[in-house]
Structures are given as structure tokens and as C-alpha cells.
């Protein structure tokens, strides 16, 4: 499912640790129009809990998040 969506912005969060992934994510989403999709990739295992929590708290839609080897990939849709 998630593979078919095309991201409007790709965020490379590799090598970053807490709180950087969500700070970068929040800064990146600010400049995008509603409906835009961000795809992110991180290496910090903490994002598996933090990105869904960030999406819930900030009212954005988490489309998918999954581990691929040593990387964590997620897709977020800006809904407001």
C-alpha cells in the first residue's frame, strides 16, 4: 500500500538521535501544503515509538512505519 504513494518530500534522518528526528520532521512539515506526504528514513530505533507519538500529538496522519534491516521508514501525511 505505502509503496504506491509518492512522497512530496524525502527526509534523511539517518544517524540522528532523539530529539532530532521529530524536530526535523516538525520543521519540514511546516512548509508543506495540507495533503502533502513526507517519507522519512532513520536509523534510531526510538523513532518506532516517537514518530507515531509525534503524529498523534500533532494531529498528523501516520500512513506507515516499518523496519527494513537497520533502517526505519515511515510515511506521514499532513492533514492540517
Amino acid at each position: 500500500m505505502a509503496e504506491q504513494l509518492k512522497a512530496d518530500l524525502f527526509l534523511d534522518l539517518k544517524g540522528m538521535l532523539c530529539p532530532l528526528p521529530i524536530v526535523k520532521l516538525s520543521q519540514a512539515i511546516k512548509d508543506l501544503p495540507v495533503g502533502a506526504i513526507i517519507e522519512g528514513v532513520a536509523t534510531d530505533p526510538g523513532v518506532m515509538a516517537d514518530v507515531p507519538a509525534w503524529a498523534k500529538a500533532s494531529g498528523q496522519e501516520l500512513i506507515s512505519i516499518e523496519q527494513q534491516g537497520k533502517e526505519y521508514r515511515f510515511m506521514i501525511k499532513k492533514v492540517k
Partner: protein, 156 residues
């Protein structure tokens, strides 16, 4: 009325506790919360310039001991600065944001940095010795007013 706010008292001037404070503050600001950090006593070191302070003999003595954000050491195992050096090296190797970078990030995200008037008086710190991004100093009532309207309050 409770708003989507976080207010925090930053009492500690220890590197590790300040890291926790700034990580929570930036994290909350990143999720759209309005964040206010009140700096009191040792915590004032986190928003101080690297200038010597104090007017009286004791004030100058204290000013000699006070550090800025790059000079504060961890609460345990500092060993006269070795601990601070070691932590900074380890954090750099692991690509963790340094304390000064976390503070810059907090400022960029709109976190309000508020100094406590009373501890500034006691420690003989004047506004011009604090970084320009801090707001006017306030007292306990102003903090309580913020805290009363906040979803989350913390003391670090």
C-alpha cells in the same frame, strides 16, 4: 483554562539535567506545544553569556564559579571537568545534539526562555549578562499562572 502548554522550572545547572530539560522542551515544541522554561538558581547558567558577573565580593566570587552552557558539567562523575570532556566526546561520536545546539533548536522552535528575577538578584546577574533571546525576568506568580494553564509541568 488548560491549554496545550508545557511549563518547566529549570533549577539544575548540571549538563545532564539540562540536556533532559532541553530535549523535553524541543520535543514538546516539535509536537506543537507552547513551551516555557523558567530558569532559576543554577539553571541560570544555561542562559548566561560566558562573561564574568557579580558586583560585591561574594557576587564576584560566585561569578567566577558560574559557567555558561558550554562549561557546565554532569551531575555525577565530573572529576573537575574530565567528565564533561568525556561526555562531550561520547555524544559527538554518537551524533547526539550538544547542549548549546539543543538550546539553539529550542529558540528556533519558539520555546520561551524566562529568567527568575529573585535568583538573578541574589546571584548578581543582570539582564545584559544573559543571552539576548531570554525574555524579561519574572517572579513566582508569573510561573504559577503559566503552570496553572499547562497540561504538563516539570521541575528539573
Amino acid at each position: 483554562m488548560e491549554q496545550n502548554k508545557l511549563s518547566m522550572v529549570v533549577f539544575s545547572g548540571d549538563m545532564d539535567k539540562l540536556m533532559a530539560a532541553f530535549i523535553i522542551a524541543t520535543g514538546a515544541a516539535a509536537t506543537g506545544m507552547e513551551v516555557t522554561m523558567f530558569f532559576t538558581f543554577w539553571g541560570l547558567q544555561a542562559i548566561k553569556k560566558s562573561e564574568k558577573t557579580g558586583k560585591s565580593f561574594f557576587g564576584k566570587l560566585l561569578g567566577f564559579m558560574l559557567k555558561d552552557i558550554n562549561g557546565v558539567g554532569p551531575s555525577k562523575m565530573n572529576f573537575g571537568g574530565i567528565g564533561r570532556w568525556m561526555f562531550k566526546k561520547m555524544m559527538k561520536a554518537k551524533n547526539v545534539a550538544m547542549l548549546n545546539q539543543l538550546r539553539d533548536m529550542a529558540i528556533e522552535l519558539g520555546v520561551k526562555l524566562v529568567p527568575c528575577q529573585m535568583s538573578m538578584e541574589v546571584m548578581e546577574l543582570t539582564q545584559d549578562k544573559l543571552i539576548p533571546q531570554v525574555s524579561q525576568p519574572v517572579g513566582v506568580a508569573a510561573f504559577l499562572e503559566e503552570a496553572r494553564n499547562s497540561k504538563i509541568t516539570l521541575f528539573i
